[in-house]
Amino acid sequence: MLKKMYAFLIIAFFLVGCAAAPIRKNSRFDSYFQNGEKTVSVVPVSIKFYKLTAGGVPEQMDEWDIQSDALFKTAIMEKLDSSRKIKIKILDEDTLNSDLKTFLDEQTGLYRAVSQSIIAHTYMEGNIFPLKLKNFDYTLGPQLNRINDFIPCDTILFISGTTTYWTGGRVFLGVCGALLGAATGIVVLPGDVPDWVSAALVDSKTGDIIWFRYMGAPNCQIGDLRDKKTVSKTVNYLFREVINND
């Protein structure tokens, strides 16, 4: 019986690390970084953080979004800017007028829709679109080129996702769910929502997605993206082909 309880605990709460989710890349990826250094603009990270209490009430945590955005930008500067192939530029939203902010919001919104389509139709078993998987040609379209008017660059880095954190009460419910399950043989979980993070390098002139990576269900648990070390590991994991392409 005790073994059964521990088994539930381990399965429910000690899932760490990721089964490697393959990247998706455009046919131009392999040669993309061979023609000299590329300037990569990093647009504001669009990761939504939600705190989930015992009753499943979600609360969006803005300060966590801002905190995580800063950590990602630092980690990206450290890891990618040191690459011989990439020169990082961080886009400062405060320097943009409202027209350009709106344009940027629209591109971020479109990127979220495109990344959700990529995840749904090139990663999720049963939902795969074979031609999109074979000829990965997702794009935001050449209208993206307008970004070069205010931050000239070769490539744009988009990062977006959603992640939820359980409060102490909810984690406790989860533990008790496991214990109850062990005692009664019936599994009761306090409700779960898959987290996800995606990153993409997008050609700023054509809008083509050159490279894409996804972390999330069913392969991966996202760690605490408010933590510097976790963000650093996440950036390492997300961008390892780009970093290793040196």
Partner: protein, 185 residues
Amino acid sequence: MKIKLLFILSLALLVCGCAPWQIVQNSRQWRYLGFEATLPAGWMKLNSSPDILFLSKDGELLQSIRIFRYEINKKNALPITKKIVTDNMLPQEISELIVNEMSLNQNKQKLKILENIPIDISGENGFKLEYVFNTPDNLKIKSVLYGFKKDKFIYLIQYQATEQFYFDKDVVVFDDFIKSFKVLR
């Protein structure tokens, strides 16, 4: 939220052994619900309710073609205005009903009607509506909707895509699809 729904759908359908999507291998005739059309090769067809034909090439959030129908005189046909389509309605009146319904839909913000004109669809008097709106996430969507009445039903044929890039990319495919659309008599 959409990823979660797709994730659950994938798992559920895997369990029951049904693939939700099927590739259209070659352009082929598709006959159902009293009409036929040529499906565009390389697009994916969703295996869902028999009352709906749903196609997409890049993903339903980016672009889609669909045919669906509503029963005439059925109570509470339209969810927001609760208006019933009656059999003496002209295509213009049906199109205005649809515009009213959309204008009260909070998920369609900044709705703008670009065109609302009469059109012949395979010999049937119908309407063509073209419009744009923003989703609550500020994504701009453009849509073309054809509609006509036949027997007990209103048939609606829609092409919808993100206004940026995807709409223009595949509108020609939709135009060909509409040209191939025939009501079987």
